[in-house]
């Protein structure tokens, strides 16, 4: 057997063995994943370089689908990839439509449980360093006002319930608060979005019930109630797709904690 044939057989054998292994594994361990994540991941370069701060492209794609990461989070891809991702997600990268920041947490001091009394520096990021912040909910807003202090346009003010409030007129969707918040609570969404589940917790419903009266339990009742199929439950958190949502309000009554609610309200 010449050296060439041994090489061919060795590599071919390895190829067969590995591909059968992968094929069987893919079949046996098949799991459903939101198709949009797959579509976005295809568009991303796939180099898994970690430049966006997420752990690889599929994770970054998942973050983009959930709206946690901006469309141009992928540094390796640059502008062309940002366009493509925006195309897939249906939001245009250069949003002609005006956007505004929304605070995705309703767990104010009355309704959200606290682990301990925090007496440190009056800054959310500093509070995060003290065993992950004083709130029992590891996703909720700490209410120490880093975003309020750093908002370049003064669009944010601290409500008396301990949660920041957004002034729609002043907010230019610059994204500073989104970047600064250690818990990524504020998100930039189009002004026209009519309804949203104002919570960021991916914890299981049973846990959320114990620590916050206002949190999203991921029960999916809103998803069933929605005639437009605009609501998706991604990792125990309902996310409203603003392109499909008509603001009919059917989901508002169904929600046990009332976290999914209308965003259209006059500036107070």
């Amino acid at each position: 057997m010449g050296p060439v044939t041994t090489a061919i057989l060795a590599m071919g054998g390895l190829g067969v063995f590995l591909s059968i292994l992968l094929g069987v594994a893919a079949k046996v361990f098949f799991v459903y994943v939101d198709p949009r994540i797959g579509q976005v991941a295809d568009v991303l370069p796939g180099a898994n370089c970690g430049g966006c701060g997420y752990a690889g492209c599929s994770d970054c794609a998942a973050a983009m689908v959930e709206g946690k990461a901006p469309v141009n989070a992928c540094k390796a891809g640059g502008a062309s990839v940002a366009q493509a991702v925006a195309g897939v997600l249906g939001i245009s990268a250069a949003a002609a439509e005006r956007e505004v920041a929304r605070i995705f947490c309703k767990g104010d001091s009355a309704r959200a449980e606290r682990k301990f009394k925090y007496m440190g520096i009056n800054d959310c990021r500093a509070a995060m360093l003290v065993s992950g912040g004083d709130k029992s909910c590891s996703y909720g807003c700490l209410g120490l006002g880093t975003c309020v202090a750093n908002c370049p346009f003064g669009a944010l003010s601290m409500g008396e319930d301990g949660l920041p409030r957004v002034d729609d007129e002043k907010c230019t969707a610059c994204g500073t608060c989104v970047k600064l918040c250690p818990r990524h609570i504020p998100k930039v969404v189009p002004v026209s979005q009519k309804a949203a589940s104002l919570c960021s917790s991916h914890d299981v419903g049973k846990l959320v019930k114990e620590i916050c009266e206002a949190g999203c339990l991921g029960c999916g009742l809103c998803k069933k109630a929605c005639p437009e199929k605009a609501v998706e439950v991604v990792k125990f958190l309902s996310v409203v797709d603003h392109t499909k949502c008509t603001g009919c309000g059917k989901c508002f009554e169904k929600c046990p904690t009332g976290i999914i609610q209308s965003l259209v309200f006059t500036v107070v």
Partner: protein
Amino acid sequence: MSLRDIIKMIVVLTIVSAVCGGGLALVRISTADQITYQKIKFIKEPALKQILVGYDNDPVSDRKEIVTGKDKKGKDVATTFFYAKKAGQVITIAFETEAPGFAGNVGVMMAVKPDGTMQGVAVTTLSETPGVGTRVKEDPSFCAQFVGKPLTANFSLGAEIQGLSGATVSSTAVSNAVKSGVELYTKHKSQLGF
């Protein structure tokens, strides 16, 4: 992931890896001898340069491997003979032998003229104690003693070769290597064919 997808996957991966494997084997073969040439050249060249003089060919490419003995496990051991030529005529033959030294084998490269006189000796590899045993390599006068002597000379210490004081074990190693080299050379003289 229908079955058809899996089969397509298996076929594509197998063909691609097999083709790549085969291609690389071909590249391997076409570069194999060049690589061995480079390896030998890189290791042996410094020693060859010390002992061979007045040649116009590339001794590393005009080399011949002759089976000169069996090692413990019965696999035959080959020694490479390097031919130094001048205008096509072989002027010296160089080859390497080893002998156990103080802390490991001492490799010695010898150059022998066809008329049976020793043209040069150089120590190639050694793991002797630095500063003591390594003097056989660093001190050129020691190896110079072998030059010009006929092969029939008695190369053991005390006779025609004086060992280095304080490094008797290493010196005996070099002389044993030279003696085994001479013996090897005379045994295989006919096969060298020049």
